[in-house]
Amino acid sequence: MVDKKNIFLFGYGNFGRQLYKNLFLAGHNIKVLTATAESIVNAQEDKVDLIQINIKRNDDILSLNIDQENDMLYCAMSKTANNLFLVLTLRALFPYADIIAISNSLENTRKLKYAGANSVIDLYEATSRRLINILTKPAVTKAIDEIIYKQNNLKMAEVIIPPRSFLVGMYIKDISFKSMGVVLVAIIDKESEHELVFTDQRLSQQLEAGETLVVVSKIDDLKIFKDLVHSETHPLVSH
């Protein structure tokens, strides 16, 4: 289902532990690296192999053989100062790597982003958002759980339109995603890479090669849909 990735997880405190658990369930290859004694005890309890490093020494980190084009680096040290320093070090060593950091406040999110993290997950922000959504939008929260978090049949996924796909040049409103069991949520332009365009604003727009479709679907239907996107003829067109 998901592409298996090599993940380097720095830190095995409370955050690191949960990260490992979820990443492991998702089936990725994870290497755990840590510097503190507490983390080593945690790892022994959970029977997780870990490598001890000193984050202040570049040699330690370079010896990990990180492939910055493909590997993902998760920074989840318990101490904010260590985490920040780690992000800074990694960014300096690997300018193109994908670095994700855990933060515990808006304040630290800003600092971590400045230090070079591609994405920052704000622990309390996410938790408070969830708490509020449970109170105000219970159905939405549960739907997101079903689609995103639960290990079940539903999935949110990204599908890139290949150059010779039958979809190229078609209007969104003319494609019956529904009959394929797929809900199209957003389209991401190849030029403005980070700008998300939600489908409700672009029903009358043509699809182009290289654009990314963000869809929600059942896993079986998703496989069929991905194959379909690659086909060059029009297998299903509705009016």
Partner: protein, 539 residues
């Protein structure tokens, strides 16, 4: 005794009364007591009167208070005008009949609601049945009298009674007692009650201070009398003059009508003026400190009155990093909430942000009782950084009212499991949420970004839910009929209703066009906020 059981007992005894005790003399009181016990209208009237004159939380009490203050001020104004002017007879009679009867009514009403006589009669009767004794009349009346004496002998009741007395016009000096009516105002204004509280609270310190003052006045007065009493000072005729001078001097008021004339007297004055300054500073600081203590209590009372007007209330326990964010979010959503924390420093921060706050220990039942756990509180969020403390608060709340929805923040998985065992509705683990999000990011980074921007409402596009209400235009339509495209909305799925829409049932992802919508179904849609608002409006 639980209510139904009590009712049974009552009907049982009622029958007994009918059969056996009707011949006895006291049957009248007894059956009357039982009649009142079972008479709902009586109880309703009594509780209304109680609320009106005693219950600060009752919304109409302020009108009653206001009315009483006006009546009192009228009476006092008449007293002042009467000094130099002649008051028309009809106004005097108004003062006599109207004001006095209101005061008498109020006095009796307060005595009435103070306790329930019929309950005493019933209890006594049941007790006598139990021990198979004769019910003694004398004992019964003594009990009732003892009970009501509790009210009659209270300070406020005495003031009330004295305030009625000036109606006997025979003795002129009694007119001054009208001023006791002004004292009555203390009852109707809460802030003045604060002063009485201070007097009570600092009783020991104030008595010490007064004893000291009395002691110094005693010594200083006698000293001056010895120095200047033997005709050296023409203004000091007797010991009373000397004491009067001592008080005026020690209080640093110093009228100067009596002043020492001998060097000894002046020396003495210098010493007692210095002592006086010290005593006054001591007294002032005492009262100020006590008022400060009182301020936080007054503020809390105000907060409780504020929230008692709300229909549904969320309680946030703990104002740490998470509590802060949640409070901000709830504020934005327009929900009513109150923050409880033990830490005074955190509470003052929350207070400065304009939230309703109370500084207390949320693991104790008292505060939840005050906030109305039985009717008002819908959710309690335990968000302190200490798992054990959160568990403590959650169990406290659940033991008070099981129906309240309790959410607990927890970092330890083992504690989380125990929470589920204690029937806590929701356990939320920040680390777990971050972990889940990270896993999604590793798999589908772009999808993750999309999701994040929708959830965090950074874009104009939102994800929201729309419930199908009875009689709405969507009821009994199929998905195909609705044409979500025309509403510019993406239908993600539907939650079917369970238990008449109270809980969420199954999630139907991407339902087919021939699905019939039912009342209680919830549509989960993605779209522009305006598009969602548009559909909600049409509902």
């Amino acid at each position: 005794m639980s209510l139904p059981v009590k009712k049974k007992v009552i009907t049982f005894f009622k029958k007994k009364i009918d059969e056996n005790t009707l011949k006895q003399k006291k049957h009248f009181f007894l059956s009357f007591a039982y009649f009142i016990e079972s008479f709902n209208t009586y109880r309703r009237i009594k509780s209304f009167v109680y609320n009106l004159i005693e219950n600060d939380q009752y919304s109409y009490k302020k009108y009653f208070d206001f009315f009483m203050i006006i009546v009192i001020l009228t009476s006092v104004t008449l007293l002042v005008i009467d000094v130099k002017h002649h008051i028309p007879v009809w106004i005097d009679e108004f003062d006599f009949y109207f004001v006095t009867s209101i005061f008498i009514l109020e006095y009796l009403a307060r005595m009435w609601v103070y306790s329930d006589i019929h309950k005493i009669i019933i209890d006594e009767y049941e007790e006598s049945r139990f021990f198979d004794k004769r019910l003694s009349f004398f004992r019964l009346f003594w009990k009732i009298f003892q009970n009501k004496w509790g009210y009659i002998s209270s300070l406020s009741a005495i003031i009330d009674l004295i305030a009625i007395l000036p109606s006997y016009r025979g003795i002129r000096i009694l007119r001054v007692l009208i001023l006791f009516r002004a004292f009555k105002m203390l009852r109707y204004t809460k802030s003045l009650n604060g002063f009485i509280y201070v007097l009570k609270n600092k009783k020991f310190e104030l008595i010490t201070l007064l004893t000291l003052v009395a002691f110094f006045i005693f010594i200083a007065g006698i000293m001056l009398y010895v120095f200047e009493g033997d005709n050296k000072n023409p203004n000091i005729h007797n010991l009373f003059d000397a004491f009067y001078w001592a008080l005026i001097t020690i209080s640093t008021v110093g009228y100067g009508d009596i002043a020492p004339v001998t060097p000894e007297g002046r020396m003495e004055t210098m010493v007692i003026v210095i002592i006086g300054i010290g005593l006054i500073a001591f007294g002032t600081s005492l009262i100020v400190a006590s008022f400060n203590e009182r301020m936080s209590v007054l503020r809390e009372e105000k907060v409780i009155v504020n929230v008692s007007r709300k229909k549904s209330l969320i309680v946030i326990c703990g104002y740490g990093l998470l509590g802060r964010l949640v409070a901000k979010g709830l504020q934005k959503e327009g929900l009513d909430f109150i923050i409880i924390d033990k830490d005074e420093h955190l509470i003052s921060q929350a207070f400065n942000s304009g939230y309703n706050t109370i500084c207390t220990d949320a693991s104790q039942g008292e505060i939840f009782g005050k906030l109305g756990i039985e009717k008002r509180i819908s959710h309690v969020l335990c968000l302190t950084s200490d798992d054990i403390q959160n568990a403590f608060i959650a169990i406290n709340v659940k033991s008070l009212n099981e129906k309240v929805h309790v959410t607990v923040r927890c970092s330890d998985e083992e504690i989380a499991q125990k929470m589920e065992f204690a029937h806590i509705d929701q356990v939320i683990m920040p680390e777990e949420i971050a972990g889940m999000m990270s896993a999604v990011y590793a798999g589908e980074p772009v999808a993750f970004e999309v999701l994040l921007s929708i959830i965090e409402e950074k874009e104009k596009t939102q994800i929201d839910e729309i419930a199908i209400t009875k009689g709405s235009f969507l009821e009994h339509k199929t998905i195909g009929d609705v044409h979500f495209d025309n509403y510019r909305l993406i239908l993600l799925g539907i939650f079917t209703s369970k238990d008449n829409g109270k809980t969420l049932g199954e999630f139907l992802f991407n339902p087919s066009d021939d699905y019939y919508l039912h009342v209680g179904d919830r549509l989960v849609c993605i779209g522009y906020s305006t598009a969602i608002a548009n559909l909600k409006k049409r509902m």
